[in-house]
Symmetry: C2
Subunit: 388 residues, 2 copies
Amino acid sequence: MTPDEIRVSAFVAHGDVVLKGAAEGPLAGLTFAAKDLFDVAGTRSGWGNPDRLEEAPVSLTTASALLPALAAGATLIGKTHTDELASGMFGENPHYGPPINLRAPGRVPGGSSSGSAAAVAAGICDFAFGTDTGGSVRVPASFCGLFGIRTTHGRVSTAGLMPMAPSFDTVGWFARGAAMLRKIGGQYVGFAEANPRLLLAEDAFNICVPEVSAALRAAAAKLGGATPVALYREGIPHWLDTFRPLQLGELWATHGTWAMQPGRRLSPLVAERIALAGQVPAPAIARAWAAREALAGRLQALLAGDGILVLPTAHDLPPKVGAPVSAQIEFRDRTLALTCVASLCRLPQVNLPAGEINGVPIGLSLIGPSHGDAMLMAAAEALAPALA
Amino acid sequence: MTPDEIRVSAFVAHGDVVLKGAAEGPLAGLTFAAKDLFDVAGTRSGWGNPDRLEEAPVSLTTASALLPALAAGATLIGKTHTDELASGMFGENPHYGPPINLRAPGRVPGGSSSGSAAAVAAGICDFAFGTDTGGSVRVPASFCGLFGIRTTHGRVSTAGLMPMAPSFDTVGWFARGAAMLRKIGGQYVGFAEANPRLLLAEDAFNICVPEVSAALRAAAAKLGGATPVALYREGIPHWLDTFRPLQLGELWATHGTWAMQPGRRLSPLVAERIALAGQVPAPAIARAWAAREALAGRLQALLAGDGILVLPTAHDLPPKVGAPVSAQIEFRDRTLALTCVASLCRLPQVNLPAGEINGVPIGLSLIGPSHGDAMLMAAAEALAPALA
């Protein structure tokens, strides 16, 4: 594949825009991209769907989350593909095709922030913004061999972004190196030193397929001195059963009315998911909210101010492009058991590239305490050399 | 005024809907209303603006935040007026008029959750939901002599609500008594005991006009044993200068494109505010974000897990209906110095009715630690009798 093919695959056609960054600043000279959920003045936000793109006004405004990067001197070079309505883990948007994963040709880049990950992996820009509700930055970071952060919920503004499940929605970004990840982070959450207390989520590794589990356990061992803990004390099904009704319920509240309009062009998988979301009963949502707070409270006590939980980012290598839907659903549900932890508990998480299996990247994650984003990125930078 | 006049003034005409609550549950038999920013299946969400109302689809969905109340047995009886796009502190929506404040006839009910407060104050329903970005539950609670909570940011889902400034937007509710406030809260944040460490924000009382300051200091003294602290160590202007660019910047990102469409029917004050919002430069927003985190960090350390800050809710009695715009702006900016604290720091805050001056209600506030909502409502219930 040529650089141009990758570029075409990763960037949306309607987002051909450049917003010059400030002439001076800590990010001067850097370039970045933003997922097509971020409003950018002069463009439309297509949200990965052709109907939405048609309806979308040309924005006069730029999403709040992009402003610190621009003010610090970085230049926005375009908008990138997303799974439809950010509802997907693989990046295989049926309307626009999957962005090319340079690090694992023939395999998906991961989603829903697929184009942003693909663009950074291919070196088209220095960093790129995505959003992460249930794993949409962490999974593509893992699949594309990138550093990627999902920030603490509420820490970076979501103004001017498509909402998906607002109590889970966060802004994140990708970079090829830990130093760059942290440098961007400095403009959002400042800088901090790390003197973390590492906790190894023993049981989380059991979720992975054996080959990935073994490789990530070996990688985690290189970090040194992590205290083993049982993460899923309530059982993995309880975590998933808490996440699903809440996320689906919010997806329904956010997009149900729009998605159910007759004649809507929506891929069958997403249409079905939203219809399913409308079936979640109110009592199930109320119960799940209470369960969520109990989980979040336990994790907060576990991490306190300085704990960092080490766990796999995804349970397996990125699937090949065009895998059957049934395999995709099975994959999603299994990796979701890993990604739902930070989502439910509103915590920041960083993916660190942790080597390759047969040339395909795998990723190890660090989950930090609430609002410990700066410390977490410092820890990622300190620990990354051990995995290189 | 008749009960019917109050009802007509508080409820939107297009939100004539009843959603029956579950037959059994802890809230069975109670009735509630929701601000017209909350989507309710079968209605349109007008957001306080006639153009938006025309454009709005009939919703198939109900905002996530209303589901626990319905599941617990409470019945929704209608949707209530709001300031236009939730941009206002007084409830004087020029398109629909102000809801009647039964507790202070001739004075505004406060906004932007004006109709919800007016409806509860008049006894039309047992409780009502509002939203609070910069004071939109706290101020009308104070003006109408109600208990009202702004929850910890991110604690209650905003899915299916109009976003305003998402990093500040929260869900809240009103009740006539502290026990009811807490009973509703149990369905959202559970119950907790309170053994709070009271901190008296000495300098916050100086923001009030002398008569209100004296009355609220006397009320606070009745709570007993609060340790005096200096809240505004960075200076009041710094707090306001941090809040304004962020809130305006997000308002612009959220509604700028829509509001600036030619021919838009928007009240001059709101139109001007949004146009102003578009002028906030990106570097000012980036600086304010960093300043916000420093303030939030200091308050977090101050409150730790058990601290409750006691301060006035508003600096003066509710203005009379029809006050000149210049007086409204001056009022808003001064009360904002009080309300911006919890907004910037993402903290929960409860208004407690604290008596009257010439028959007009005044309110004392408690700000709790992040995610201390349940403890805060327990504290409000324990402390309320001292103020009665």
